[in-house]
């Protein structure tokens, strides 16, 4: 599948009633998808009391926002800061490794020959299509037997195995790079390594960005893997840390009322903070996201 035609023809709904129904359904779903997020933005500016009594879409006050902020980052002596740092470390570490591993692999699968190439391609495709959570417990059992549980490597290394990234680079290099170009570079005296770094890699920049996007989003949001691999709170990424915050919220867990308890608006703020990096990446990538370039990227 290559280029999309410039201006695709649209099927137009004729008649007033058809358009009205279509508009109603589309609007209904705008509310369904947007209301929770919009509400979340308002919730963090309120006190716990205001959250339950005031209009859900009324703005609170700056001072309430600040006090929510302080409560969140004061939780367990700044645990949230640690968790965010951990998330960044795991997600970026795995991202760097993923690129280092996947891009050359995709290139090699597309443009070189070696034994077991086909086997590796089939393995890539099969693993890519199974949900990543399916392998979490088997990987836990394996790493447990070699004593790696609790180490940052126990999440970074499994995250770096990213067959979807290899698949994307494979498709890109096998369809978008003219082989004659590589041959010309060889005739001009490039070594095989230089052909990759000087010709293929610069041409592959868009696909490297795309792999980086998917890898980062998936790593940052990963819950099951770190939840299983990292037993100690010091090692939690923010996604797993959210469970500690939730457990300390009396509104959901009445047994947790105590000095270090978390109020609802603070929990709402934690939700926003936990997704902020991904949200920013999404906002900056929105053009290519909605044009369908990410087709196939959804792997929940």
């Amino acid at each position: 599948m290559s280029a999309v035609s410039a201006e695709p023809r649209r099927v137009s709904l004729r008649g007033w009633s058809g358009r009205a129904v279509a508009g109603f359904v589309l609007t209904l779903f705008v509310f369904f998808f947007a209301v929770p997020i919009v509400w979340l933005l308002f919730a963090v500016t309120k006190s716990a009391k205001a959250l339950t009594v005031s209009n859900p879409f009324a703005l609170g006050s700056w001072s309430d926002f600040v006090s929510n902020w302080h409560q969140l980052f004061g939780f367990q002596d700044g645990a949230v800061t640690t968790w965010i740092g951990n998330s960044a470390f795991y997600a970026l570490g795995a991202l760097a490794l993923t690129l280092l591993v996947s891009v050359p692999a995709g290139y090699a699968l597309a443009l070189t020959e070696f034994k077991l190439r086909k086997a590796l391609l089939v393995l890539t495709l099969v693993v890519m299509l199974i949900p990543s959570t399916a392998l979490v417990l088997p990987i836990f059992l394996e790493l447990n037997s070699v004593g790696l549980i609790g180490s940052p490597l126990s999440v970074i290394l499994p995250m770096s195995f990213f067959p979807f990234g290899v698949y994307l680079t494979y498709i890109y290099f096998s369809t978008s790079i003219p082989r004659d170009l590589l041959a010309a570079a060889r005739i001009d005296g490039c070594t095989e390594f230089q052909v990759f770094t000087r010709i293929a890699l610069p041409l592959g920049a868009p696909i490297v960005a795309l792999v980086a996007f998917f890898s980062f989003v998936q790593n940052w949001n990963n819950f099951f893997l770190p939840f299983v691999m990292l037993p100690s709170s010091d090692g939690y990424p923010i996604q797993v840390g959210l469970t500690s915050l939730l457990a300390a919220t009396p509104a959901f867990n009445p047994s947790s009322a105590g000095s270090d308890s978390v109020q609802l608006p603070t929990l709402a703020l934690a939700t926003i903070v936990s997704i902020l990096p991904v949200l920013i990446v999404f906002l900056f990538s929105q053009r290519f996201l909605v044009e369908g370039m990410t087709a196939g990227g959804t792997k929940e």
């Binding site: 290559s2 996604q239 929105q286 909605v290 369908g292 196939g296």
Partner: protein
């Protein structure tokens, strides 16, 4: 350009295009550079794909002392009183989720595609896609708020349905629907964008011809667009089915937030987790994970080998 999803490239024999040992002297096949480039990936694929799977197989067929257990672990977990309820929970959730996904994703993609204003269409896709940023624990947490009548932005709606408290909302009978709503909210936008991209690829001539023949929007949708979307719908269905069997984070967080009104062995993956971490029974955990892994592998395999789903347009 559009990145195709797991397309024909692999399944329809892209590997056949370049055979090893081509006689052209300038081919890269004569140097061992390919091995260097794939070595790290092959290592990771072994360490985190092949070996754990094999190790799970080994554990599932042995007992705690390492002796051969036959199918003992499987009969043990299958006859566990928590096993079939968990299967039922996951199945109910899958049925609701998949039906909602197919109906609404396809419907919304067709509607969004019919929107003529370019900015409106882009904005709609973006709004639908945005919740995808809140995967995993974050989206569950957000939905805890939405489902708690004391704080919810739609508390009026919840009360109108007779849900006056959080506990009333999360009664066991409601859970499959709740998990389906959360999963739909997070993931549907991505699929809508994919379907939209697929609709854009339907050739102009076909649609024009249909219009000349007097077909209305509904007829075009039913007779032309839907059949051409079929393979994408199948792809979505298979992927979602495989992912849905893995249900974990939603019930896990809800169990924690509800003081165990929602049990911590609600789904199969949770049960496997309980075996590993509460009962220290790694063999039982391996047996359950293996069952889930085999289901996922079968679905994936059917999809890879029956590449007919991915014929080129």
């Amino acid at each position: 350009m559009t990145i195709a999803p797991p397309s024909d490239e692999l399944a329809a024999g892209a590997f056949e295009r370049r055979r090893p040992g081509r006689p052209t002297g300038r081919g890269p096949g004569r140097t061992p550079i390919g091995y260097v480039f794939v070595s790290l990936y092959a290592l990771l694929a072994l360490a985190f794909g092949v070996v754990p799977s094999l190790y799970a197989v080994l554990l599932a067929f042995t007992n705690a002392d390492g002796g051969f257990a036959g199918v003992g672990n499987f009969t043990k977990v299958v006859s566990d009183f928590r096993f079939w309820p968990a299967v039922l929970h996951v199945t109910l959730y899958l049925v609701i989720w998949l039906v909602a996904l197919v109906v609404f994703v396809v419907g919304l993609a067709l509607l969004v595609h019919a929107v003529r204003l370019r900015w409106a269409s882009t904005a709609l896709r973006f709004v639908y896609y945005l919740p995808g940023a809140l995967a995993g624990a974050s989206s569950v947490l957000l939905w805890l708020f939405v489902l708690d009548p004391t704080a919810s932005p739609v508390s009026g709606l919840l009360r109108a349905f007779g849900f006056d408290s959080f506990v009333a909302v999360i009664q066991p009978g409601n859970l499959p629907a709740i998990f389906a709503i959360i999963a739909f909210w997070t993931g549907a936008g991505g699929w809508i964008v994919i379907m939209y991209g697929a609709l854009n690829n339907i050739s102009t001539e076909v649609l024009e011809a249909a219009q000349v023949d007097g077909a209305g929007a509904v007829q075009i949708a039913l007779r032309i667009q839907l059949p051409l979307l079929r393979k994408w719908i199948a792809y979505m269905g298979v992927m979602s089915l495989a992912a849905g069997t893995q249900l974990f984070v939603e019930p896990q967080l809800l169990s924690q937030a509800s003081n165990a009104v929602v049990p911590n062995d609600y789904s199969l993956n949770q049960l496997a987790y309980q075996y590993a971490f509460q009962q220290n029974d790694f063999n039982g955990a391996a047996a359950i994970s293996l069952i889930l892994l085999v289901v996922a592998l079968l679905l994936s395999w059917v999809f890879v080998t029956r590449g007919g789903l991915f014929e080129k347009e």
